[in-house]
């Protein structure tokens, strides 16, 4: 019996192997890309087919406002985040001060803070007549409107700029700066002409990521009362039940996001900024600061962490402790974990497939995977509407074929939601998977086999340990993103499915901030350690 099962297993394995061998990477790549491109095409079709009544209506009233608000907010947040990110990167790479090593990675953590959570918390602190203002007697400017939103985005998204600029400066910043000084440049000229241009591509790429996130955001803008395109999309969908109008706005937003992506890619131009030699950290150590200078720089670097993470999280904790919860958050926690884990597994599988396709070196295959990676630029609301468009078009095709209402495809299902997540976040899993696969060089197989290892042992002792960290990284990255995601979840979730993000958002929208505190806090309690873990696993990523 056992041997019979074994032989069936073997035959199945051999068959799968044969299929895999015959599958052209270019074909897999194209299928993958097409699978994710189809909803976008459906979105455009739907946007063109729908009558433009709503669009005409908002065009005469609010379309300009939506677009300009989105653009304004993106520019303000981008500029502020770039200033904080580059500034902090400069401090931790240029100077040696008390607590520098810890601060250098703590500065990444505010990225784990969902923007809308920071927004609820800061609003609760600064709203007119808040307990804090009553207790302290201070009159802080209220965090709301477009400048409030820019403040929140800058404090929760600056780590993108910080991380990329820090790595760029670490690689060759100090030495170049020293050399520029030795060539007669004062510190300002050295910073302006050498340091800034050298880190510009990294800082620009980070800022473009910030702008993409700002454009995609729904939670912060909706809560603080900024009418951006994404807010318009979700409203068109949920309040006006007008998919065509939502699709039309989504196309507009997609165009904006792709513009940001394109701007980042072209910023580099002809000039390559790769260092031309080994980095000489020995020759150019950090300038040692002592006494009050050290304390001053340490507190400066601490400021974004305090404003972006510690103060809002602390306030939420205080709110949560002092509030009787109005219902159990357990279902929401379960929903969040279910979606996060499911998405992480799916994304790792997709990421691995894409990485394998990339490894084949086939040109068409590579092009399709790179297209897939651009999926990250697609805002969640757009992805959701695109999936719905595809389902709607599929439904009408089915109806036409069967001549009846074949109601098998529905929106508001977990499958639709998982698909929407993948179209955005599978892109996130590709890079770490690719990096993991690169480590499995063919010579290693040969070396292991020549040392007498069986193929099974090669897989378990060589391949798995090599790729495991990379795959875990990819999974964790995707899980964090999914847990924080709001707009796509709002649009696509089945009504029975609650998540922490949605629960917190619903309470906050009703101005029941104290009730929003607990789910928001749990979200932080999961995302912050996960982000910390990520940065321990790959300190330079």
């Amino acid at each position: 019996m056992a041997t019979a099962i074994d032989s069936i297993g073997n035959r199945a394995g051999a068959a799968a192997g044969a299929i895999l061998r015959r599958l052209d990477p270019a074909v897999i790549g194209t299928i993958l890309a097409a699978f994710f491109a189809l909803p976008i095409i459906a979105l455009i079709v739907l946007a063109m087919s729908g009558d433009s009544e709503y669009l005409d209506h908002i065009a005469s009233t609010r379309l300009t406002e939506f677009s300009t608000k989105s653009a304004q907010l993106a520019i303000m947040s981008g500029a502020l985040a770039a200033t904080i990110g580059v500034g902090c990167a400069w401090l931790v790479t240029r100077y040696e001060f008390a607590g520098r090593r810890a601060l250098s990675w703590l500065l990444i953590l505010p990225l784990a803070m969902p923007g809308y959570v920071a927004a609820y918390s800061w609003y609760a602190i600064t709203a007119p007549g808040s307990k804090f203002e009553a207790a302290s007697g201070w009159d802080l400017p209220t965090v709301s409107g477009i400048s409030g939103a820019a403040f929140i985005f800058a404090l929760t998204l600056y780590p993108y700029v910080y991380l990329l600029s820090r790595n760029a400066m670490e690689a060759h910043g100090r030495l170049s700066w020293d050399i520029a000084r030795s060539l007669g440049a004062g510190s300002w000229r050295a910073f302006r002409q050498i340091t800034l241009p050298m880190i510009w591509p990294a800082a620009a790429a980070g800022t473009a990521l910030v702008i993409m996130e700002v454009l995609a955001d729904y939670g912060v803008a909706d809560f603080l009362g900024v009418s951006t395109l994404t807010v318009g999309i979700v409203r068109a969908w949920s309040s006006f039940s007008d998919p065509a109008a939502a699709a039309q706005l989504a196309v507009l937003l997609l165009f904006g996001a792709l513009l940001a992506l394109g701007a980042e890619r072209t910023a580099r131009g002809r000039r390559q900024f790769a260092s031309t030699g080994a980095s000489d950290t020995q020759l150019s150590p950090r300038s040692q600061l002592t006494g009050w200078r050290s304390a001053l720089v340490a507190s400066l670097a601490m400021l974004p962490i305090a404003l972006g993470l510690l103060i809002p999280a602390g306030n939420l904790a205080w709110l949560a402790i002092n509030t009787r919860p109005s219902g159990s958050v357990l279902p929401a926690l379960q929903g969040t974990l279910l979606l996060a884990i499911g998405s992480a597994v799916l994304a790792v599988l997709l990421g691995l497939t894409a990485a394998y396709v990339l490894r084949s070196g086939n040109r068409l295959a590579r092009a399709s995977v790179r297209l897939l990676q651009a999926g990250y630029a697609v805002p969640g609301a757009v992805a959701a509407i695109a999936i719905l468009s595809a389902l709607a078009i599929g439904q009408s095709v089915l109806n036409a074929l069967s001549g009846a209402q074949a109601a098998i495809l529905t929106g508001g299902s977990i499958v639709a939601l998982l698909l929407a997540y993948q179209s955005r976040f599978a892109a996130v899993a590709i890079l770490p998977s690719e990096a993991a696969l690169v480590k499995v060089r063919p010579e290693l197989d040969e070396a292991a086999r020549s040392l007498g290892a069986s193929p099974m042992r090669v897989v378990t002792k060589i391949h798995l340990p090599l790729v495991l960290t990379g795959l875990a990284t990819a999974g964790l990255l995707v899980a964090i993103e999914v847990m924080k995601e709001l707009p796509a979840t709002m649009i696509l979730r089945p009504f029975s499915l609650d998540t922490l993000a949605v629960t917190a958002h619903n309470y906050a929208s009703d101005e029941r901030l104290a009730q929003a505190a607990l789910p928001a806090l749990i979200l932080i309690a999961i995302c912050v350690p996960a982000t910390a873990l990520l940065n321990l696993v790959r300190p330079n990523a």
Binding site: L175, R181, S182, M198, Q272, T276, L283, Q288
Partner: protein, 341 residues
Amino acid sequence: MTATEAQISLKDVACEIAGKRILDGIDLDLPRGAITVVLGPSGAGKSTLLRAIAGFEPVSEGMITSPTGILSSPKVTLPPEKRRIGVVVQSNALFPHMTAAENVRFGMDRSDGPGSAQEWLAKVELADRANAYPHELSGGEQQRIALARALARQPDVVLLDEAFSSLDQQLRKSMRRDAKLLLKEADAAVLVVTHDPDEALELADTIVVLSEGRIVQRGAPEDLYWRPQSIVAARLLGEVNALTGTWQDGVLRTAIGDVELPEIAENEPQTALFRPSALSLVPLPNGPWTVIETEFSGGNQFVTVKGKKGETLRVSGHTNVTMRVGDTVDVAFDPKRVGWA
């Protein structure tokens, strides 16, 4: 302007980084038109010495001066951009977002002399690569641009930190020769930090040996090569045989004979140091040394001989006196070429 005028003087200089003393009691004059090479094992403080002279590192004791005044003291550190220095480092640190010509032009004052960036590029034979970006240049070309960039501002002091180490052997040799001509022409005080003995011997007017933050020996290359005064200094410049002996009647008795050491050798040193080429072998039936290994390397033969007590010596000599394993010999030495430790 005489060749001995000190452009930079270090007096009793000490440097501390994060409470750790990296340099201690450094006295050093860098004369104009001369090349001073600093040799030392890694961690000896070579780069810190260079950084202190450049003004990147403050001194905690002593003083660095130039004819125009104080450059560094525990109280003041003149910033690097005010010191008229030129620095070339191993990784060349060309600004990646600037062309070759823009890199060279970066440090030039317009009022400064006749030399244009283009002329400097021509001097390093790269006139045709003016518009190339660093990543479009080969390693050797990058290093030439870095040298041109440092020299183009007509510095008073040129500092080279392992400047040619990243180049391959062949390229390093030709680069060294070209660089030496340009450096001499620049009439600046030149300080070279290296761990390559060939580079030190070929470039230096004076070699300074640094060990654990202190200068342990200084002198002309020949002096240091033949008469090192410590094992550290001896090893830094190449292979060496160390023979311990006993002190008797004012001479050091060793296995190959009595060594007379000059008076400056303090405290009756116990070890005599011989370069392989300072020794010679004399065929002698039943001699005290037996050939145990021979290596042929082109013009030279390296011969390892073993003594009665098991001690070994490495001797190099011309291949016209061929030795074979098992031959017995006597070992002679050149009395002017003995170091001690």
